[in-house]
């Protein structure tokens, strides 16, 4: 015998209710898969983390820098290593919590939009994408610090530090010269000088830590030229 039933929750008709998921691609073009390398001079000073490597991105876009139609990155990675770059393998276990740093969001058309592990996006009703760069930027800086601390990339050379400092000092000098005609630049000059002081202190601290770790290791001796004047 049939019984009375109560229906309380109608099912959604997918034909009439539009559900949105994924990043829209009609205004922006999605980013391809990528990996990071760090070149010897790719370092910068960060107020919270000191000197951290600058990530350089090799993009798996077919036809770009020798990437084949399957998105194989072997050739650009080999080329970057030949230029002195250190490849950061996303599967390197030393990355710890940052392993698989390349991640993706689905796109509306079923594709993938590759992003950094910490990227966060807000999609407005108009289809515009707003990336939360402040929060993800802090996380990304921690990732870069970790890459340096874990020894995944070679430590910054003293010569590179000097090169960076010289550039910063030149920037300060330019501000000083231009402050004759634009006095408001004096405040910027002062800030730049403070920044240079912080950079020097950070470097000295880093050197101190390294020296302690190295113990009493002697520095290599230079070879002497026999006779510089007469050859």
């Amino acid at each position: 015998m049939s019984q009375t039933i109560h229906l309380t929750q109608p099912k959604r008709d997918v034909q009439t209710v539009e559900t949105r998921s994924g990043l829209p691609v009609h205004k922006q073009r999605p980013q391809a898969r990528f990996v990071y390398v760090v070149f010897p001079k790719s370092w910068e000073y960060h107020d919270d983390h000191g000197f951290i490597p600058v990530m350089r991105r090799l993009v798996a876009k077919p036809g770009a820098n020798g990437v084949d139609n399957r998105g194989n990155l072997n050739r650009p990675i080999a080329s970057a290593i030949q230029k002195g770059g250190a490849y950061i393998d996303p599967k390197d276990t030393r990355l710890g919590p940052f392993m698989d740093y390349v991640q993706y969001y689905d796109t509306e058309n079923g594709g993938r939009w590759y992003v950094d592990f910490c990227s966060k996006a807000t999609v407005l009703a108009s289809g515009e994408i707003i990336w939360n760069t402040r929060e993800s930027g802090d996380e990304f800086a921690r990732f870069r610090k970790h890459v340096a601390d874990a020894g995944i990339v070679p430590a910054m050379l003293p010569e590179v530090f000097e090169w960076i400092i010289i550039r910063e000092e030149q920037k300060a000098q330019q501000l000083m010269h231009r402050s004759d005609s634009s006095p408001h630049l004096l405040a910027k000059y002062d800030k730049q000088c403070e920044r240079i002081d912080r950079m020097r202190k950070t470097w000295e601290d880093m050197k101190g830590t390294k020296a302690k770790a190295a113990g009493k290791a002697s520095s290599p001796r230079r070879k002497k030229a026999d006779n510089i004047i007469e050859g």
Binding site: G63, S79, A80, T133
Partner: protein, 307 residues
């Protein structure tokens, strides 16, 4: 009064319609920047591979002074040649039109759709090129937004690397429209003769060309990607021969595609029709085979600034 003949009345009873299609076709907003002009084109040579290896000849070097009148001679010098690879990949785009679309007519017809496909080639090459900016080993990162100082820094970096700039082959600056705005704002605050000669009074160099500043050709493109968790736009300044490209000629496909199906054979672009008679659908498929590579890394420097 009664029985007036009105627009409202005829709109519901028949005789008038709410709107009609204008014959005029407006172009929807897009960035058509084509950066092939700032790269060196390497003619594609079909010789049994999808990859073409391009040789960089060794640079001439200064001679060494002889150390003795009678003995010693000279040790061999490394020739120092190099190479880069151009590996082509297929890029395609497809639009499918129904027969009802065709017979109903209107300002957008098959010819307009084919033309839209053809216009996409330059944008495709630009997309591939700009994706390489962040892989250059040198970079100038602006402290916030792009300023004249940052552009000077990039110029100094190229000059130190020995990248030549001349009237015939000037440095090219390719930046995102936001970076362009910031650069113009910074220029307003400069004193002295730092004239930006806008594209309007220069010979047109193609879509995206903005003008010339300090002997640098300035281009803008919305293809410049974001990097560093989307915090920075990635533009670049580079000299001639920093980047090279090739496009394989599609005439090689003449034996593969029936002649009747070819809608456009423009040398590097093939647009062919694909008919599904059962469902009344016709596809226009555009394909090209292209490669873009860094030819010499030291001839380019990335310019990053806040989004």
């Amino acid at each position: 009064m009664a029985n007036e003949i009105t627009f409202t009345g005829l709109s519901s009873a028949g005789g008038r319609v709410a709107s009609v299609l204008s014959a005029l076709l407006f172009e929807k907003i897009h960035d058509p920047t084509d950066l092939r002009a700032v790269m060196t084109e390497v003619p594609w040579g079909m010789a049994g591979s999808d990859t073409m290896s391009v040789t960089l000849d060794g640079a001439p070097g200064a001679f060494a002074a002889a150390t003795s009148e009678t003995v010693g001679g000279a040790s061999n010098s490394a020739y120092g040649s190099g190479k880069f690879d151009l590996q082509i990949a297929r890029y395609l785009r497809k639009y499918q039109m129904s027969d009802l679309f065709g017979v109903s007519g209107g300002p957008i017809d098959a010819a307009a759709i084919v033309q839209t496909l053809a216009d996409g080639v330059g944008i495709t090459v630009t997309d591939v090129l700009t994706s390489l900016f962040n892989s250059l080993s040198s970079a100038v990162t602006a402290s916030t937004v792009l300023t004249v100082d940052d552009v000077y820094s990039a110029m100094y970096t190229l000059n130190l690397a020995g990248a030549a700039s001349s009237a015939e082959a000037p440095y090219s600056l390719v930046i995102h429209p936001k970076q362009m705005n910031d650069f113009r704002t910074s220029l307003r605050a400069e004193t002295g003769a730092l004239e930006f000669v806008s594209a309007g009074i220069l010979e047109a160099k193609g879509p995206g060309y903005q003008g010339n500043w300090q002997g640098i050709d300035v281009w803008q493109s919305d293809s410049c990607p974001t990097v560093d968790t989307a915090a920075h736009y990635s533009g670049a300044m580079f000299a001639k021969d920093a980047f090279a490209y090739t496009m394989a000629p599609v005439r090689a496909l003449q034996g593969h595609v029936p002649a009747a199906n070819i809608l456009i054979d423009a040398g590097e672009l093939l647009i062919e029709a694909d008919r599904d008679a059962t469902n009344g659908l016709t596809s226009a498929v555009a394909s090209c085979f292209l490669a873009v590579s860094e030819a010499q890394d030291s001839l380019g420097v990335e310019l990053k600034s806040d989004v």
